[in-house]
Every structure is written in C-alpha cells, then in structure tokens.
C-alpha cells in the first residue's frame, strides 16, 4: 500500500464518515465504521472520483471494501492515468 496515498486518503475519509482521522486505519471497513452504509459507500466512490479525477468501473465499486484496498486501487488508477500524485 502506498503510504503517501494513504495519508491523503485518511482526512478525506475522516470527513466523509464524520470521524476523527485517527479512527481511520488501513483495515477500516463497513464492519468497523458504523456510518459506512451503502449510500455512504456510493458517496465515497463519487468523492474519490471527484477529488482524484478518476473513474471506477461498475465492477470495481464493489471491491472497495476496506481502506487498504481503496488505496491500492487508487494508486493503480493514478499510475495508469498519469494523473496527479
């Protein structure tokens, strides 16, 4: 997992799930974060698309089940698109 990306991701997810940043860890998931329901999951996907200028494929949306997986997929996409790091 890219540390750099994880550290950019943490405050965003903290805002999104209305939690202090220190309560977000790589293992955070819908099981550990109460407000992470399906509507908030969609909000998160769109928020990442907005803020990183990328797009997730329909099948990828279901795979983003914890913070580490999100950071990994994001890194992959940003490397591919040559987008902002």
């Amino acid at each position: 997992m890219s540390e750099n990306l994880y550290h950019r991701l943490r405050p965003l997810l903290a805002d999104l799930f209305q939690l202090p940043a220190d309560q977000i860890s790589p293992a955070s998931s819908p099981d550990t974060i109460e407000s992470w329901d399906s509507m908030q999951h969609l909000n998160m996907v769109l928020a990442l698309e907005q803020q990183f200028g990328i797009a997730f494929a329909p099948e990828e949306i279901e795979q983003l089940v914890n913070v580490e997986l999100i950071a990994d997929l994001l890194e992959e996409k940003l490397t591919l698109s040559g987008g902002p790091q």
Partner: protein, 629 residues
C-alpha cells in the same frame, strides 16, 4: 484562493464554534465550503452544522425529491450548500422510481410530510426509452404518440399534486441524447430530438399555467456542461446514478438556485467595491484615464461584470457601492469614465469614503431599509472580505476569483440573486430609491415630521386580492421581515385559497405620493368568525415604514368591521430577530394584551369603545367591490 487560506477558514470555523461565536463560525465555514464543494466537504459541513444550527437563524425548508434515478449524493451537497447559504434544509427522496405512486396515492408520505418544495426529476431514459434510444426495430417510430403520452402523464401528476398540497413544485425538463439515433437526418425534422423538445415545451406551458409550479431546464443544465460528459454510463448501469461525479456539485447548485427564491432567502442588494472590481486599476493611484472598463479591449472583464450587475437590477435587486476612495473622485469617475456601463443613478446607495467596509455596509442597510442578511458583498480584496465576514457575519460575502474574467460568472452563479417572478414593482425599485433620496431631502427641509407627512401628499388604495396581484401578495409575505406582525409566509396557491375562502379576507395596498407610485407595498389577511376579526397577517414593505400608512390601513379595516357588524379586532404579534419596527403597533393603537407566551403575544381591540382613526395627511380610497363578509 490558496489552499492555506482555505485551511485557515476551517480552523477558524472550529475555533469560533468553540468560542460560541456561531455566526462567525458559519461565515468561515461558508467561505471554506465555497472552495470545497465535494462530497467529503459536504460531510464536514453537515457535521459542523449539527453543532451550529441551534445558534443560527436559518430559513427552514422541507424538500421532497420525486425521482427516477439515484440523486442522494447530489442531495448531500445540496444540504451543505443550503446550510452555507442560510437555509435549514430537511431534504429526502421518495422511494426509488416510485414517483408516480407517491403522487397518485393520496395517503403517501409525500402528502403526510407537508413539504415546502417538491422536485420532480425523471430521466428521459426511464420515462421515454423510445425517445432516448430511438427506434428499436424496423418499424417507424411513433414519436407523436409517445410525446402525447408523456405530456398526459405529467399533466395528471401536476394536477394531482396541485389539488393535494401547497408545496411549490419544480418540474425538471427531459434531457436530450448526445447523438440522435438517426444522425443528422434527425435534425431535418420530425425526429427524436424534436419530440423531446416538444415535451419540454409542454412542461414549460404546464408550469407557467399552474400556480406555484416552476420549470428547471435540466436539459439546458446538461447542455451547459456537455451532453457527452454529463451522463455517466458506468454509474447508470451499476447504481442508476446518471450524473458524472464532477458534475454533481453543479446539479446541487442548480437546485439551490430554486430553493433560495422559493424560501425567500434572497439578496436584495448587491454591494460592489470599485477599484479592481467595478473597474480595472486603482483610481487614487492610476487616475481616471487609466481605469480599464469597456465593451472591447482590456476592460471587457469589468464591462461584463457590470453587465452581470445590471442583470441583477433588472430582477429588482438594488445595487450599491462600498469603496475606499475620495467621495468626489469616485463620483467623478462613475460619471465621466467613457467605458462604464453603470453610472451613479444605477446605484441606490454610494458609500465612497475611508471608513471600514463593514461600516459602509451597515450604512447601506440602514439607508435602503433592509436587513444586513439581504446584502451580498463583492470585493476583489480578500482582506476586506475577511474583515466583513468577521464584523458582519450576516452579510453574504462572495469569494471573487483572482482573475476578473470570472467576476461575472461568480455573480451569475450566486443563488441568492435568483428570482422566480419579477413584478413591475421589482423592476422599478431603483427608480423608487431615486425618489426616496428626494423624499429624504424634503424630510430634512421640513420643520416637523407632521409637516413632512403633510407635504408627502400620500394616497392609500385598499385593493382586494385578485388574479392580478396574488403573485405580489405572496411575494410580500415571503420577503417582508421588518414591519410584519406574524411573518407568515404564503405561496401563491395558499393566498388564492385564502382569498377564495368565505371566512377570510385578503387585502393589499398601493401607496402613491408626490414623488410617484410606490406600488403594492402592504398586505393583510383577516380571518372572520363569530363577530371577531382575527388579523392573521399584517405587513408593510420597508419602503413606506414610518409614514403612518399602517394607521391608515388599520382605520380602514376597523371601519369595515363595524359596518359589517364585527365588534372585535384581534391579532398576534410574533417577534422575530427582524420585526422590532412592528413591536409597538398594537399597543400604540390602543389594543390590550390578553395573552403572552414564548412565541408571542395576543392583542385585542373592542371596536365598540375604541376607534382607530386615519391620520389627516393620508387619504384612503377603497375599491368598491371590497367587502369583508
């Protein structure tokens, strides 16, 4: 705007919240939100809103969205934007794609919840797939039939909503496909896009022909940003969300444009700076000749900004100036610079001096007789903007872009400037303030208030509610904050119902004086039962406050009551943060207080023993058909 400044706003918002300075916290948060209109930003704003809400005066708004697609993320942004703009939004969606059932079922949640506003947003793709994708077989498509069916459905839905609730209804037009199925042949007529255009024109006719129904041209919104880039095929397939992530804030902002005028959270005055805002350059340093402004060349950004202000004036919004300059120099530049679109007589108030901007804004609010929360402040200088945010957190301070090419867009994207109707009164408002300046001169030259009132030569016309003035009466209830005894807001539909009801009477008044016609500037709603006339609503526009018009109105009402066998007048005074000017209305006119609680006080006048009389300097004329019962 640097991200440092942005971060600082967030820190400050949290600090002010901790200090209990809720309005300053709200001003900082609003500035931060302007630069962070994302879903994570919205979550943060809404978290802060939880703590701030109880300490702010927000305009409440209950919104229900009838939709054929996933709009929840846009709604999240709308909630945050509404909070930043001073609206306390209770927004929710009706069950997915069940809009027709919600409308047609008289016992549905839609009607139980009594929303103020309903959005009806249906995707072309869902409602008319044949029009969206073109023919699916070899048979020639019957676009005319599809058109007629779609419009018949909308007509049924609108009529049903209109008979079952008072909410304002905002119809969304159907979006056009990016490329019609038949290619350029479609443009030659009779095709798919012509059919969708016909439906949208039908929707426009339906909206303008039904009270409190408005049109949001969703297709034009999509077209503004590009039909190919707006639609998100992947999200549509997976979660039925039709809008690409980057455009969701745009949709939310378009919705805000409707909520502000519908709930009366409006800017009445646009206050602009001069140097590097209204014109390019600094008058005191560069001199009049060097100032940049004009329809061509290097002053065009400023010309376009002035044009955007002129457009506000055409909607009835007053313009004012707050500038740090020598007054005579500023006035000379405004009068003599060859490339200006706006001149001194476009401005209802000109504050050019060396006091703080917050002080100028206070004076403008006083001079124009509006609340500070009716001002929008436009200034290129971030320091001035920050000063105003902290000193006068009620004032809306627009974040102006660094490049003047963006000024005009910043103005036209501010939802507080939107209007859904403009009355003749609105369009003449600036003229009124020119008259007002002359009135003030008369007032200064009069030896006493009575002299002044006599010389004004006022005539007051009492006019019953009718088709011609219902819109204005509704507008008066929406917008009048100061001289307003109960501050009850009524939609056009509600005013119409009250006027049609046998036990209510709805009146408006026109005031004409020697300087001109002030238009329809007052309204009252009376409920009549058991020999009592209950004053439900009694209000006067700030234009005529302090001219004893309210006494004339009251005396006319009393006279009618007596002639109709009504012996008692009663009414509440419900205090708000704004309506202090009306607080002594009842006691001053001999009413006695019969009840008082946290919400307000109830007042009574026995017409058999007391008679409010009309001031001798006002002549009251009643329309003949006026009858209370």
């Amino acid at each position: 705007m640097t991200s440092n400044q942005t971060r600082q706003w967030r820190v400050q918002a949290e600090e002010y919240l901790a200090e209990g300075r809720a309005r300053q916290a709200h001003a900082m948060l609003s500035a931060w939100w302007h630069e962070n209109q994302t879903l994570t930003g919205a979550s943060y704003v809404l978290q802060m809103a939880q703590a701030l809400r109880p300490h702010l005066e927000l305009r409440p708004c209950k919104l229900r969205v009838l939709r054929s697609c996933t709009v929840e993320p846009a709604l999240q942004l709308l909630r945050a934007g509404a909070f930043a703009g001073g609206i306390d939004l209770d927004a929710s969606v009706c069950p997915f794609n069940a809009y027709a059932q919600e409308i047609l079922d008289a016992s549905s949640a839609l009607y139980r919840e009594k929303p103020d506003v309903i959005f009806l947003m249906v995707s072309t793709r869902v409602l008319a797939p044949g029009l969206w994708q073109g023919p699916s077989g070899s048979a020639a498509p019957d676009y005319a039939r599809e058109c007629a069916e779609v419009l018949a459905s909308y007509r049924r839905w609108v009529e049903t909503i209109r008979t079952r609730c008072n909410a304002a209804l905002v119809l969304h037009t159907l979006e056009q496909p990016a490329l019609p199925a038949a290619g350029i042949l479609d443009m030659q007529g009779g095709g798919q896009t012509a059919a969708i255009r016909r439906i949208n024109e039908g929707l426009a006719a339906l909206a303008s022909g039904t009270p409190d129904v408005y049109l949001l041209d969703y297709d034009a919104l999509v077209a503004r940003h590009g039909r190919t880039s707006w639609w998100d095929e992947g999200k549509w397939r997976s979660v039925r969300m039709p809008v690409r992530a980057e455009h969701i804030p745009t949709l939310a902002n378009e919705w805000l444009r409707f909520l502000h005028p519908l709930r009366g959270r409006l800017a009445k005055v646009a206050v602009t700076d001069l140097d590097n805002t209204l014109w390019g350059g600094i008058l005191g340093e560069d001199g009049l000749q060097a100032l940049r402004s004009g329809p061509e060349g290097n002053g065009i950004d400023f010309w376009q900004y002035q044009q955007s202000l002129l457009r506000l004036q055409q909607r009835g919004i007053l313009l004012a100036i707050a500038s740090k300059n020598n007054p005579a120099d500023a006035l000379e530049a405004l009068e003599r610079h060859p490339g200006l679109l706006l001149r001194p007589n476009h401005f209802a108030s000109i504050q050019a001096h060396w006091q703080e901007k917050s002080q100028s804004l206070r004076q403008i609010a006083e001079e124009l007789n509006v609340g500070l929360d009716s001002l929008v402040f436009l200034d290129d200088n971030p320091v001035e903007r920050q000063q105003v945010r902290l000193e006068l957190p009620e004032v809306t301070v627009l974040e102006m872009p660094a490049d003047p090419a963006g000024y005009a867009t910043a103005v036209s994207n501010c939802p507080l400037f939107e209007r859904l109707s403009v009355s003749p009164e609105d369009a003449q408002r600036t003229e009124y303030y020119v008259g007002q300046r002359e009135r003030s001169q008369l007032e200064r030259s009069s030896t006493s208030l009575e002299d002044f009132l006599h010389s004004l030569d006022q005539r007051v016309f009492l006019i019953p509610a009718s088709t011609e003035n219902i819109q204005r009466i509704s507008q008066l209830t929406q917008k009048t904050n100061q001289f307003n005894l109960t501050t009850r807001r009524y939609s056009e539909t509600e005013i119409r119902r009250l006027a049609d009801s046998a036990d209510h009477c709805v009146l408006t008044i026109r005031v004409v004086d020697r300087f001109g016609d002030n238009g329809l500037v007052g309204a009252c709603v009376l409920a009549l039962a058991d020999g009592v006339c209950h004053v439900d609503t009694f209000l006067l526009s700030c234009r005529v406050i302090g001219r004893t018009v309210e006494t004339a109105m009251l005396s006319a009402i009393a006279q009618y009551c007596r002639s109709s066998g009504i012996s008692r007048l009663e009414g509440y005074f419900l205090p708000t943060r704004k309506n202090a000017p009306a607080a002594d209305f009842y006691p001053k006119h001999g009413f006695t207080c019969v009840k008082e609680d946290a919400a307000g006080s109830l007042w009574r006048l026995d017409l058999e023993t007391a008679t409010p009389t009309c001031p001798p300097w006002i002549q009251v004329t009643q329309a003949e058909e006026l009858a209370l019962v």
